[in-house]
Amino acid sequence: MKIRTEPNPGSGSVAAAAPTASLGRTRRWAKLKKDKWIYLLLAPGLLYFLIFKYVPMWGILLAFKDYQPFLGFWKSSWVGFEHFKIFFGNPEFVMLLRNTLILSFYNLLFYFPVPIILALLLNEVRRAYFKRTIQTLIYVPHFISMVIVASLTYVFLTTQGGIVNGLLEKYTGSTIDFLASPDWFRPMIILQTIWKESGFGTIIFLAALAGVDVEQYEAAIMDGANRWRQLWHITLPSIRNTIVILLILRMGEVMDNGFEQIYLMLNPLNREVAEVFDTYVYMMGITQGAFSYSTAVGLFKAVIGVILVLGSNWLAKRFGQTGIY
């Protein structure tokens, strides 16, 4: 079949091209028809990505328009970078940047090491049932919703009958309004994260630790190494790459503080330290209806986020390939 449609060297190439093309098309059509179920199965997913991922991306144009509800998306006028200028000139911008970065930095400083230490402690446990029991307990908070975590925090820390303030009053005579205090906001967020995620965060380190060759320890013991020496010379180096890569990847997420957690703990009294980009976008856009302005703020955050993620992934890959030496 193919031979017959091969253009004859003697005939004009223009005349020969047409039948080849049409036959190629029918063959492609036949192939499509053969795979019709595959394409049908792909359709819902494609529609999903188109409607809920790519249409919104195109909706980013809103950031460069002055959206008026009665004019709609198309008829609203273009304003260029006006919203960005307003945002960068706004003192709130500095506040948001500061709050976002400080929370991420605290997270890195106070939360990041916790799962590593916890994994190292668990790794020293020789009794399997004890290790399993502890793991079962410390994974629980990961599955609890942020609303429950915030609710627990409220119930424990409220000045109206909360247990913590009850104890404080009993022993110090005064109470602290943790929930409304700007000083306590960041510690509260970090403690929530430590309680909720550090148990689950051990999984990846425990997996890395499980890969360490037992013979290394045996050899070290023969050479007279004690527990600390083993930890320092065998255990830690074996998870060093995992730690470095996770640390780098976390750098890529410094703009993300997690909307739900912050939003749930945010109130007018601690706003000066609590408001971050995500909650600001929600407040300005959904609560106050400034769609264009908040789209611009969101876009700014997303662009910085992409740069950070790409940069940190590039770094992580370099470390992954060359090791750390």
Binding site: G45, F143, V147, G161, R227, Y263
Partner: protein
Amino acid sequence: MNKTYRTFGGTVFDAANYIVLSAIGIAAVLPFLYVVAGSFASDTELTQRAFFIVPHSFSLMAYKYIFSTDTILHSLMNSMYVTVVGTLVNLVFTVTMAYGLSKKNVAGRNMIMNLIIFSMLFGGGLIPTYLVVRELQLLDSYWALMLPGAISAFNLIIVKNFFQELPPELEEAAKIDGCSDLSLLWRIVLPLSMPVLATFTLFYAVGHWNNFFSALLYINDPEKWPLQVMLRQIVLLSQMAAGSADSVDYNYVQQAQQSIKMAVIVVGTLPILFVYPFLQKHFAKGVLIGSVKG
């Protein structure tokens, strides 16, 4: 290995380690134990006793109270509906697309994969997505909680990779026996993928049950609120009733007592604790599937 290095220091370390880990393990669940105890206690006991796991005054008052109106029950039903139907939607969308993409001869496959990966990196953001949902008339509809997150790109790629790794001979044999692509998926691929699908069913289901953000964004009608939003109303907003602009004036919400709040928290946590044994098994696996993929 154990015996060779039993030194005094090692024994002390082991003992300390067991004590520290036990304390951490208890700390992970202690807030629940207290809240469960508190939900069965009277408010006078809650204010008078510092900390307890067993209440002296056992009362079901708080539970009677929260189930005296339909509010909580209703939001529980809403959450269950969204979790069940939403997870089904997730699975259908994810599996069909993953199966389609697992076929190497699909036209435009690489381009589609690149578009999916790009969408993991960059998105339209909150407001444009909100406007799309609004334009589709999905506000105040449960579809707004199910469709915008129907596929997690990350899960999709893992399921796709899993499908690709199934032995191709199975497919060839089935094709020779006259099996269409559709029945191939249904009769061969899905039964072989049950463990992976179980993991993702749990991933998605827990996500739906715990989801607060989508409902906050898209559901304004209190009748349709899922449990997480209702929980926030009762526990958090009654706390700062004066401070917040968007607190809904629920009569009993305003006067919610500690024991009632605790009972609501217990009701909101129990479903997760029921499925926890399955979760623990599959989620640990899920974390590692994601991290080890090539």
